[in-house]
């Protein structure tokens, strides 16, 4: 069994093990969840270390025959585009599991679904066979449905089914696109690498149809305007740990899918679609930022800021150049780190105050210096302060896109301004000003929460100061992919 299969299987073993433990042994269940997620993280860390940065092609490839009747193979592999996302998934899942030790009801089911979710997410990033990709893609759906629906907020049931229906609709259209690709390849195959080679030979009209079918599937996950409406609802209702995974990893599945497959395989359609994509990206940036500004609920504000940040990511993709795409991938990773930690931080305050209303707080900085410090660092990173991770990604995205779409990019900068405005206003209202005595009894951030949050903050700073250690990984593959389209 290769390293990648081991990475995917480890959380699955953990999930099955949890299913076998009696529900009353909560400490044991938490322990097993932690051990298996930590083990997965270690393996992804090893993957990261063993990954050869100079090779542009797929590494750690494993290929086994699965359903020969349809020429479907179990085929996994990683390149510079996916390896960082795999590591990010391992990291965020473990931190979210640590944070979720505060879940008190139906612990067994919670961690079972959580580890199953990790299997699906890791699988999506390593799959090289489109059928396998689809199976993993859908595998994330059911655990997420239950995680939101059982442990979520007041409108959890509606949020869960809305998430499910939106995503399923997109993924089934994607399935039709995949089938169209399959039947138009010779010999029929689901192998992504092979399809990428053959896709460009398809007639333009067919490329466009297939591109659109795949795009809807990916865009719903991103979520790109106008498919974003499930996101704020799902984020707000989901428990903290699940929001982190949703924002930190699952949104990236959409942009990953487009960059991994749609762009290189369907170059004609990509060129045709670019004018639309830039408009969508700008709408995401500006509209997302304005929506975030209008929110009184902290978590909803962060959720809309995700719409905005994924807009930067799409903006980078529209550049069709090494700079823009490097920016897009880096943006995926930094958004995972920053927004993930912001959701943790919002969860921390909500667990204590049982409200997320921005206006309900005030002057918390004096009382909770550690919490305020962490929050302010991450907010600054999110609004793009140089020296922190968010800046590098955003800057590269804008820089790349400016070459091709200068006017759109000019409009997009409004988004940056608004983002800065709502984040700073939030800091002012929550952390500065006179202290609201109502919260005098609250405690500062605890050890468990620190363990979940601090690694993300550290990484944010490290990538901000020294982005090279991340970009080195991405750049060779991206240059290769961009070259394929040109």
């Amino acid at each position: 069994m290769s390293l990648l299969s081991l990475i995917v299987v480890t959380p699955l073993i953990g999930a099955l093990l949890i299913l076998a433990i009696p529900g009353t042994r909560t400490k044991l269940i938490q322990g097993v969840a932690l051990v298996f997620s930590a083990l997965t993280l270690l393996l992804t860390g090893y993957l990261y270390a063993a990954f050869d940065k100079t090779v542009v092609l797929m590494q750690f490839v494993e290929k086994l025959s699965w359903i020969p009747a349809f020429n479907i193979n179990y085929c996994v592999g990683v390149d510079g585009l996916s390896v960082a996302l795999v590591t990010l998934t391992g990291l965020l899942t473990m931190l979210a599991i640590i944070y979720s030790f505060n879940i008190t009801v139906r612990i067994k089911e919670f961690f079972f679904w959580f580890l199953l979710l990790e299997v699906g997410m890791l699988g999506v990033f390593v799959a090289l066979d489109f059928f396998l990709f689809y199976v993993f893609w859908e595998l994330t759906l059911v655990p997420m449905y239950f995680l939101i629906g059982v442990w979520g907020g007041p409108k959890k049931e509606y949020a869960a089914i809305k998430f499910f229906l939106f995503t399923l609709f997109g993924s089934l259209l994607m399935l039709l696109g995949i089938l169209a690709l399959y039947f138009n390849s010779m010999p029929h195959t689901f192998d992504m690498m092979e399809l990428i080679k053959q896709g460009s030979l398809l007639p333009r009209a067919m490329q466009i149809w297939i591109f659109l079918a795949l795009y809807v599937g990916f865009a719903i996950k991103i979520p790109a305007f106008p498919f974003h409406t499930w996101l704020p609802l799902a984020h707000v209702e989901a428990p903290t740990g699940v929001s982190v995974i949703l924002a930190g990893v699952m949104l990236k599945m959409g942009t990953y899918g487009i960059m991994r497959f749609s762009f290189p395989a369907l170059p004609e359609a990509t060129k045709w679609f670019m004018p639309f994509l830039i408009v969508i990206a700008i709408i995401n940036i500006v509209y997302g930022a304005f929506c975030a500004m209008a929110q009184k609920d902290l978590k909803k504000m962060v959720a809309y800021s995700s719409v905005n940040h994924m807009g930067y990511c799409m903006l980078g993709m529209t550049a069709m150049s090494g700079i823009g795409w490097n920016g897009a991938v880096l943006q995926m990773i930094t958004h995972g780190l920053i927004t993930g930690s912001l959701f943790f931080l919002v969860g921390v305050i909500y667990d204590r105050a049982h409200t997320r209303d921005i206006d309900a707080f005030g002057g918390l900085a004096a009382k909770f210096p550690v919490y305020a410090g962490l929050m302010i660092i991450q907010v600054m990173a999110s609004l793009g302060l140089p020296g922190l991770a968010g800046f590098v990604g955003e800057f590269l995205c804008f820089l790349g896109a400016f070459n091709v779409w200068p006017y759109y990019v000019a409009v997009g900068t409004i988004g940056i301004l608004v983002t800065a405005a709502f984040f700073l206003r939030m800091i002012e209202k929550v952390f500065l000003g006179p202290f609201n005595e109502k919260w005098a009894a609250l405690k500062d951030i605890g050890f468990r929460e620190m363990v979940a949050i601090v690694p993300l903050v550290l990484l944010t700073v490290i990538i901000g100061v020294w982005p090279k250690f991340c970009l080195d990984l991405i750049d060779p593959t991206i240059t290769y992919l961009v070259g394929m389209i040109k």
């Binding site: 009747a69 089911e109 199976v135 059911v142 239950f146 399923l168 089934l172 399935l175 169209a180």
Partner: protein, 475 residues
């Protein structure tokens, strides 16, 4: 040459039915359950025979019947469904001990009719098999004597069934008038003669109505929800699986092989009916509050998906229907088994009986979610592979891509009501928190079907090979 030997399994099954009916008169009420076991054993033994025939490739033609791989696949499906049905019946409360013999015999005879149907190559023979199924099933549907719903369902089923039989017979007479034969063997050699004969095409369309009734194709589906709701639950499962798939098998034989629908320019009719069937089934299922009615409408929609393969009618299309039939067999059987267990504990088939089931019996709930997700077509379960196959055939045909798109939209709609049951099981609370226990027979059925649902989804290759080997209708 009559080649009666090919019908040995059917003959043995019919005789077993007779013997069990007779034995029912001599076995005391306290030991009546023995008869279920006898029925199960005979069905299983005949199943073994069919498999042996398949392994020995004992194919051939009779005067009015044929034994080919396709017929054998459907016989296999029917007999498996029969075994499951009888196992589910063992501890079903509403069957009175003194009627067990009748009940078991009727199930076996209905299965016998279905087996005849799957190899029918003559329209008269086909009609008789349809009638054997219908009459047995009418009685079985009305078997809960103390339940007025059961009688209502049976009457509706009977009236609609009678009407559809009349239409079928009329269709057969038109066919005979146009071609001078009811035999499909003779017919094949003169296929081009009748290409544009309106009487003949009308005849075929009327025959289609007869099948449409059996597989609950819209707009001939109105009996299904009432009959399904009223019938004893094992019979509901039986109707929705065995009866539907047997008729679908015969429909595939006639309309996708002997007289292909494209040769009589009726492809578009069937395509539109398929579209209507899945859409109406799914949209109506959204509003059901009774789980049996919900599954009834869901099985109407499932028939609609399967018709996609019939519309496409090329080898992939046929394979996809056959594969989906296998998938549907295990999934739907399992779903009804769980519904029966839940109703046995709560006494209700209403959806609110599922509130908080996950707290009461986590295993049962997870298995039910598996069946529902499989019906909805979510990987890695067998229902997904089946739908994948069906959609693949539609995408491959280009012309019927729109059916695949409609199928996709329908799948999304269906998830809403399937997950509604899951929502009740996992998200809602119930007052009663006592565990739901399952008797050994039902547990066995649930175990086998759930294992098959998962394993056939993860490793479908073997079954795809079997199905590929079965697509050839008689040569």
């Amino acid at each position: 040459m009559s080649n009666l030997i090919l019908l040995n399994p059917e003959i043995i099954l019919a005789c077993a039915g007779l013997l069990i009916l007779l034995a029912g008169a001599f076995i005391g009420e306290s030991r009546a359950k023995l008869l279920f076991h006898l029925g199960t054993i005979s069905a299983a033994a005949v199943l073994g025979m069919v498999v042996t025939q398949a392994v020995m490739a004992a194919y051939g033609n009779g005067t009015m019947w044929v034994l080919d791989p396709a017929a054998q696949l459907f016989k296999f499906i029917i007999l498996l469904a029969t075994v499951f049905t009888l196992l589910l019946s063992v501890n079903y409360h509403a069957i009175q001990p003194r009627h067990v013999g009748t009940y078991t015999a009727l199930v076996l005879w209905a299965s016998c009719g279905m087996m005849f149907l799957s190899g029918a190559m003559d329209l008269i023979y086909l009609l008789i098999s349809l009638e054997l199924i219908s009459i047995s099933c009418f009685i079985l549907t009305g078997f809960e004597q103390k339940n007025p719903r059961s009688a209502e369902g049976a009457i509706k089923y009977f009236l609609m069934g009678g009407l559809s039989t009349a239409v079928t017979i009329y269709g057969i007479s038109l066919f005979y008038g146009a071609t001078g034969t009811t035999n499909l063997f003779n017919y094949v050699s003169s296929v081009d003669l009748h290409f544009n004969d309106p009487a003949y095409i009308m005849g075929m369309l009327f025959i289609l109505v007869g099948f449409g009734f059996k597989i609950s194709m819209v707009p001939f589906h109105f009996w299904a929800p009432d009959a399904y709701e009223g019938a004893p639950t094992p019979i509901t499962a039986y109707l929705s699986v065995a009866s539907k798939l047997a008729a679908l098998g015969a429909m595939m034989r006639i309309f996708a092989s002997v007289i292909p629908h494209y040769a009589i320019s009726s492809t578009l009719v069937i395509a539109v009916l398929a579209a209507l069937t899945m859409t109406v089934g799914n949209l109506t299922a959204l509003f059901q509050t009774n789980v049996k009615r919900l599954l009834a409408y869901s099985s109407i929609a499932q028939a609609g998906y399967m018709l996609i393969g019939l519309v496409v009618a090329d080898p992939i299309g046929r394979e996809s229907v056959f594969f989906y039939a296998l998938a549907y067999l295990v999934t739907n059987m399992g779903a009804f088994a769980v519904a029966m267990v839940v109703a046995g504990k709560t006494g209700s088939y209403e959806l609110d009986a599922y509130d908080g089931l996950a707290r009461r019996s986590l295993g049962l709930s997870i298995v039910m979610v598996m069946f529902l997700l499989s019906l909805a077509g979510i990987p890695p379960l067998v229902g997904f592979v089946g739908k994948f196959y069906l959609f693949a055939s539609a995408v491959n045909s280009h012309t019927y891509l729109w059916l695949a798109v409609l199928g996709v939209v329908n799948s999304v709609v269906s998830v809403y009501y399937y997950m509604n049951i899951a929502r009740r099981m996992f998200f809602s609370e119930s007052k009663d928190v006592s565990a739901v226990e399952t008797d050994i027979y039902t547990a066995g059925v649930i175990f086998v079907t759930s294992a098959a649902t998962l394993l056939m989804g993860l490793l479908p290759e073997t079954f795809m090979r079997i199905v590929k080997g079965c697509v050839s209708f008689h040569s």
